[in-house]
Symmetry: C3
Amino acid sequence: MAYSTEPSFLNEEGGIMGVSDCSVFPAVFQDVSLMVIFGFAYFLAFLHRYGFSSIGFNLLLAALGVQWAVIVDGFLFHFSAGKIRINLQSILTAIMSITAVLISTGAILGKANLMQLIWMAMIEVTVFTVNRWLAVNLLQIESHVSVMHVHLFGAYFGLMVSWTLYHSSLSRKAEKERSRPISDMFAVLGTLFLWVFWPSFNSVLIPEEDKKWTAVYNTYFVMATSTIAAFSFSMATSKNGKLSMAHIQNATLAGGVALAFSASNIQQPWIAMVLGLAAGTISVLGMAYLQKHLDPALQIHDTCGVLYTFGLPSLLGGIIHVILILTNHSKIVQILNADLVSIYFLGLILSCKLWKTPPVTKYFDDQVYWEFPHLAVGF
Amino acid sequence: MAYSTEPSFLNEEGGIMGVSDCSVFPAVFQDVSLMVIFGFAYFLAFLHRYGFSSIGFNLLLAALGVQWAVIVDGFLFHFSAGKIRINLQSILTAIMSITAVLISTGAILGKANLMQLIWMAMIEVTVFTVNRWLAVNLLQIESHVSVMHVHLFGAYFGLMVSWTLYHSSLSRKAEKERSRPISDMFAVLGTLFLWVFWPSFNSVLIPEEDKKWTAVYNTYFVMATSTIAAFSFSMATSKNGKLSMAHIQNATLAGGVALAFSASNIQQPWIAMVLGLAAGTISVLGMAYLQKHLDPALQIHDTCGVLYTFGLPSLLGGIIHVILILTNHSKIVQILNADLVSIYFLGLILSCKLWKTPPVTKYFDDQVYWEFPHLAVGF
Amino acid sequence: MAYSTEPSFLNEEGGIMGVSDCSVFPAVFQDVSLMVIFGFAYFLAFLHRYGFSSIGFNLLLAALGVQWAVIVDGFLFHFSAGKIRINLQSILTAIMSITAVLISTGAILGKANLMQLIWMAMIEVTVFTVNRWLAVNLLQIESHVSVMHVHLFGAYFGLMVSWTLYHSSLSRKAEKERSRPISDMFAVLGTLFLWVFWPSFNSVLIPEEDKKWTAVYNTYFVMATSTIAAFSFSMATSKNGKLSMAHIQNATLAGGVALAFSASNIQQPWIAMVLGLAAGTISVLGMAYLQKHLDPALQIHDTCGVLYTFGLPSLLGGIIHVILILTNHSKIVQILNADLVSIYFLGLILSCKLWKTPPVTKYFDDQVYWEFPHLAVGF
């Protein structure tokens, strides 16, 4: 195990990074690291009695998992002359692989002990990396695309583990399983950081400079529209036209998840924007209508709703990716353009509550716009 | 609407970005995005019952507004052959234009409903972009300077809207309109992020590499001195020599606002430092003495004090910018140098409270140094 | 005092930055600034009644101290023709020098008034910079290495000041000297930011591109292993196998501190990893067993435990640095490899508590895994 002698990482094996200018990467390295160490930690800290564990265990799993991922990735992709060569690409891939573990953790948050989480992390990283090796070497999938099924893998792996830990008493939501306004304020901190740095996540491993930028722009637009869908449908699905913080925390990220596979292939911003609307919509509708019925039926208990933030949107993204490869883009664009406009308007019209001016006594008060299942308002 | 085919953005129209090395930009793109999505959100989250709305609405307005700004900016600046070309410059300009909306939101925080905010955002972005187009094409102002009146525009646009929403009962400060220690802890989080990334904001659109760095250095120094002014005058203006968290949250940023126009033109750090002291001082004095009398007189109610954080400092910055263009720098510097030293010492001498050592029973206690209008101390 | 005319900073004096490509630095400049202005502020905000002061004073000391450090550093290193030349290197060095002050502040947190802190900052920055000048000019130490004793200097300077402020009543821990879950949530925010950006801190001043990357990788691994050691030994040292948030907040950073001197010299990841384990272990063991006895004996009161986060780990780092220079690396590696494996396993076996599956009634509850000396659980 040694550091690669090349200053940057023009790797021969996977061909991921053909970029000669390494100067772009230090910042992006930190962006992705910040998402994993900080973003996911606070994103998961919404349970009012489980904040320390959400943040602390996230840090430990990331620290352990990255080392393990570097070793497994090194043996499969960067092994030569009896040594693993470590370079920026292998560390970046390791950090991104860990995302799978952190997503899975969301599904079993609060139910598994630390040792179970550590075992899950080790196994999950190994399986994910072997999967990537198969994809690159047998299916000839580009290496950077192979990393991008991390959301899909993490979500369904977590749900599977959640299924093994299922206990019937979990179907009644415990008081400890709720958030409070103050813990939501911490959780939304994580959401916003994930939101801002998602363009880095979707673009960092793409070798060509212009494709990298296309991925950045597309991700930015897809995040923007999934945010709009999250707000519109969160209001539309509630009884009294109020917003749910849980929807906002989760569905605003669905666009970035859905775009992961095709971030650099989409040449028309409209396509990214429609994908974001669809992903945000699916995510909110899933949380609002599906979760209540699906979870007991499948005997799973998904604490953080990873199926709706990561599972369904990445499934959608995969399907769209295949469609985009198989068909002519420009036709789809025209059809989707019409959809786009109508969905936008639908959302805004449905949210009629928005139009009512609050009385002066209701100024400076979240209760006008937000649902508070936890009773306590303010902090 | 399509992505520009050039890898970077050597644009012919506005001439903003003549930089051939694009590697500097991804990080700065994220810096500005972080300020808009995260920094402003938490900066506005100081009301203890309005945290969700401050953060959530900020995210929605940014997501909607950036798309609208790209379209409006595209039609005016980047329209050719029936298509809008999207590049890094246009997205960056869009993100920065949104700052105007977020500043305006501060003035009417808690009083307007979401639909009113959305309409305001649409109209404000349109007017701001048309203004920029007129400035660039009729007044021959450099494009990157034209974006920099965003603080000025945002503050006075917000105050105008606040005037239309005025209601006499607002002159009595409602309990819900106060902060609590815990909501201040979240708000100061936003302040610190805005503080750290302000050098990126003031420099990102400047095309020449050396001027860009000058802008970064100047902004750093201007932030540092406006922070010192904020602390000194916050203590000087309170009855008992204590600090006010509201002053610190707002006035520490006044320097960056005031420098916006002339960030790359100032060659002597001293000038930036004096400007920062002046901006911080004006901001605190305005909040301490002017707000109580001016707001009812003008029939405005400025929830976040944007007049004093953004309005007056950017007015000062505009005046200084004109003076610097018209006069000989070196003479001013010598005069200001003397002022600088005296203002520094004035602030420190006035803050005599600082010199008293707290008794051991007052160790570990904010109450020695900070005013708590909200009664509750600690969290 | 004037800005250097060179676009980047190929300085002749100290020879620190021979890098021709300046594009790598803007982001790293912001990283280090973020650590100082935001990271340390929240890292020190763990006292539940002293949050405003921790954050506010940190900002003021950084703002004042950076200006003073630029002036002192300028006179000693960048003075020519009657002028101080300011460039990126001098500002970066100034920001990093301030870290010494912020660490010292941790030792006397809550006990010194603002004016005492300002005087300490001025004196400490001056002494530190003179020290650096002596190291570079008399001892021929590389300039970037000379900055790296900032942790060592800051910790012991702070402890010395703490000794002068000692009062016997401080040996009984006051109620106000405790954290609460909510203030710990803010403090761990600071910890995570310091964690993520430490690779920037340890690498930013290194002139050679490939050594810079080696420093980034090594720092990442050293942080990862000191995190593992922090968790393992935090559980091992508590009565009931629970974690202590104070240990996690502090000891996870010990690795980065210990590596500071030799970040770019270590060619084998294993060495960095072992160093991280040792640093994290020393940090936790010091806090758990040494602090109670050592502090009264030495008549110091170290509010934040800077001796264990910064003092001992940087001492360890200095010793290892000398050993690495004097001896053959490869032999050490083989010995340490064996140690590494055994320490890992020791930690995991000791933490047998980890293996117990919590009952369903203890789901979603921090109390299963964390010690709460403050009684209140959740927030």
